[in-house]
Symmetry: C2
Subunit: 463 residues, 2 copies
């Protein structure tokens, strides 16, 4: 067995070493490297092969390895002409990027939208992917709509038919496809306010105009939604009716029919981002798509949230002409999600590890939510949290009057805790200052109370 | 070890069986299924678990497995309202889809843009992916721009710096990102004529207007390119200077500087799709990006063509503001390519299997090209092939006057050979009827002469 991280580590060291030497200088022999870095000859030869491929060194058979000629430095070139060519269409990725930036050691992460590393099914995924990668057709093209069994599995979550499911590459890719397929550039799209910043960023990058519709702890109000459709002529409403990000709200039974009817009356689509179905602490309500025969709902379910960031597999349920448009868009934009990932996902959800994993996630999220809520009640009673969510990864709290959420987040970082300010969750001006606190990101549940203590100290410092 | 294809096969049988039964009917016991289908109890229980997850059957502890209640059929619903909501923005994926449709047994494939199965490094990829999937961080998020070592590897192909490389999810995803990042909706983009239909489809899906610039067997003429820039005000030229699809042409040394200068004089970008670099039968010229300090060239290199359809990993080289725009667009549209695929690609290209694979591919492509060319000379002398390509997967031939390429492709299919008619390769009206013949797709080299004989018969039949 090769230790692959040691190949990479050695390559990094040798790359640095070569950069400091004149072109043509002979590198130490393989044997010398083996001894100096206490690695196997195989590791040395693989690291050198990497550097040869990169053009950092060259090998001359029989005489050794030498530092290659430097490429011309491009650093000083003037590329400002590009600004004219590109024009004013900057893509604002900050809403997405913020959630993906790793938090340095020593800072407690109360941010981030994934499970903590200890709760990710890394071993089961490794086993599933090893089996998947060995199949005869593993690296061939999958059927365009995805593996039939995986489509059937996603269909089973919604009560729809397998042929209504398109396998896509993660929730973000799915909502990008759905938004662009339905709404033309320049067109309005209704979104909950607050909502997931990645949806705002995707809508804007597609040239769409997100129009906020307020939500409370029962989700969106059908009357407000109907009004927004009438005022804007929007063709789509993007929503997260189950464990909404950031509030954790579930669309109440009383409002479900009204919300669907508002979309139908407007001749519009409802894009249901069902990202948190498997992050439930008890039962999750049926998705909106399950009662929808008219094809109003385009439903997105993702496996990433409940597993790990790199299992980028989702299922889009769509019926009617919109299904064809989304399918064609995916084909033109990316062809298809790589088959080994589809096979890995299928392996995992049809293995005995899957129900075990769901139970473990559910129990741990409940524990973490309760620990975070108790710490907030004790140390930060000023943060107003209307009700505890029964699923998802976040608490959403309203700050006292006069506290600036962005300034507080900066102060919190300086105090050793990372939190998400509320502002990026609002498509327009926020009605009040909020915070989103993730109970899932910290490696250890015991870090949560300490994180809250640091946050409380930061709040005192900013006042 | 579980035999996973037998789980899937059994699930398919049982799904069909359950569909024919009334809801509530008891399914045969696990033991009975084990005997009837001669599979292990583990296979039975995994297949049943899959059907439970899909909602096809339900298990009642202690009493057995039963056919579930049917979901309401959605088939008859009227979804024509969607046409109004979606409007006239159909995505035409046919140019892409044609290349991905599997050819049935009995039809000789002279279509398709991938290596034949026997030449794909399936075993090496399986080994690489098994190692990759087991790494501690395999399923975590990769660095946003991609794994550093993989960026360095792609950089080494071009002489650019590792920090100029963004890892993306396959060549199609990369060219989609580059086109959209550079050209605003409604804007023109210059493309070679003929060119890769997937580029035409992506440009149109992004709302761009492809404008053809003719190529001959030395690639594009700088004077014509300069004229097209001046006439259209286009900000980008999409081209494949090395083993162009479909003609196989290489941009001649005499024209390289002129082409770069035409783009620079126009203040425009040149998108270099370097898809076939590793499909060379001898040496491939340096990519255009390697001599470009001004950031004019956005370069796309992909690993998919030289390995297998599902290793969807590519590297985009971009310098200056355009690099930031492409990076932000990828983040907003899909986050990042799954880390296990990046690790697999890195494992493979830095293993001893990689140079061995390249040698094998090069030798086999040369053999196949020669066999196909000889068969054409013998059986189809009317097909005019100006010069044999020294890389890539295709021969491009001009049909005699009066022969319709699309009609011939249909007749060929009926005669048991699949070929690509030339029409989809032209962004506007074709100047003449052409065929593209792939020598890489047929499983066996011996099928090539027989394919040509069938094509000759089809040509006789259509005349």
């Amino acid at each position: 067995m090769n230790n692959d991280s040691s190949v990479a580590a050695l390559a990094t060291r040798l790359r640095r070493e070569a950069t400091d030497l004149r072109a043509g200088t002979r590198m130490p022999s393989s044997r010398a490297l083996t001894e100096r870095y206490r690695v196997s000859p195989v590791t040395v030869s693989r690291a050198l092969a990497l550097l040869v491929a990169e053009g950092v060194v060259v090998t001359k058979p029989g005489s050794g390895t030498f530092v290659a000629e430097r490429r011309a430095s491009h650093g000083a070139a003037d590329r400002s002409w590009q600004n004219t060519a590109l024009g004013d269409r900057r893509v604002d990725a900050e809403g997405v990027a913020l959630g993906l930036i790793p938090v340095p050691d020593g800072v407690i992460p109360l941010v981030g939208g994934y499970l903590p590393e200890g709760l990710r099914p890394a071993r089961a995924l490794a086993a599933a992917s090893a089996r998947a990668g060995r199949r005869p057709q593993a690296w061939a093209a999958p059927p365009q709509e995805g593996l039939p069994e995986l489509r059937a599995w996603f269909a089973g979550l919604t009560g729809c038919a397998p042929e209504d499911v398109l396998i896509a590459g993660g929730g973000q890719a799915a909502l990008w496809l759905a938004l662009r397929a339905i709404v033309p550039p320049g067109g309005p799209v209704l979104v909950e306010s607050p909502t997931y910043p990645g949806a705002i960023a995707a809508a804007r990058a597609a040239g769409l105009v997100p129009v906020p519709v307020p939500v409370d702890d029962e989700g969106v109000d059908p009357a407000l939604l109907a009004e927004a459709f009438a005022r804007t002529g929007a063709r789509a409403f993007f929503c997260q009716p189950t464990f909404h990000n950031p509030t954790g709200a579930v669309l109440s039974p009383a409002r479900r029919t009204g919300v669907l009817e508002a979309a139908r009356a407007a001749g519009a689509f409802l894009i249901e981002d069902d990202f948190a179905r498997h992050l439930s602490m008890g039962a999750a309500p049926a998705p909106l798509v399950s009662g929808d025969a008219a094809g109003t709902v385009v439903h997105i379910a993702s496996l990433t949230k409940v597993t790990a960031p790199s299992l980028r597999i989702s299922g889009i349920v769509a019926r009617g002409p919109v299904a064809e448009r989304i399918r064609a868009a995916q084909l033109v934009e990316t062809f298809f999600p790589a088959r080994p990932l589809q096979e890995t996902a299928l392996e995992f959800v049809s293995s005995p590890a899957w129900p075990r994993h769901l139970r473990a996630v559910s129990a741990e999220l409940r524990r973490r939510r309760d620990v975070l809520a108790a710490a907030l009640a004790e140390h930060l009673p000023d943060l107003e949290i209307p009700s505890l969510p029964s699923g998802g990864l976040y608490l959403w709290g309203r700050l006292p009057e006069g506290v600036d959420d962005v300034a507080l987040a900066q102060a919190a970082w300086a105090h050793g805790v990372a939190i998400a300010p509320g502002r990026p969750y609002f498509p327009a001006e926020p009605p009040a200052a909020h915070l989103r606190l993730s109970y899932s990101a910290a490696p250890d549940i015991d870090a949560l109370p300490e994180g809250v203590r640091r946050l409380a100290a930061a709040l005192r410092a900013t006042r």
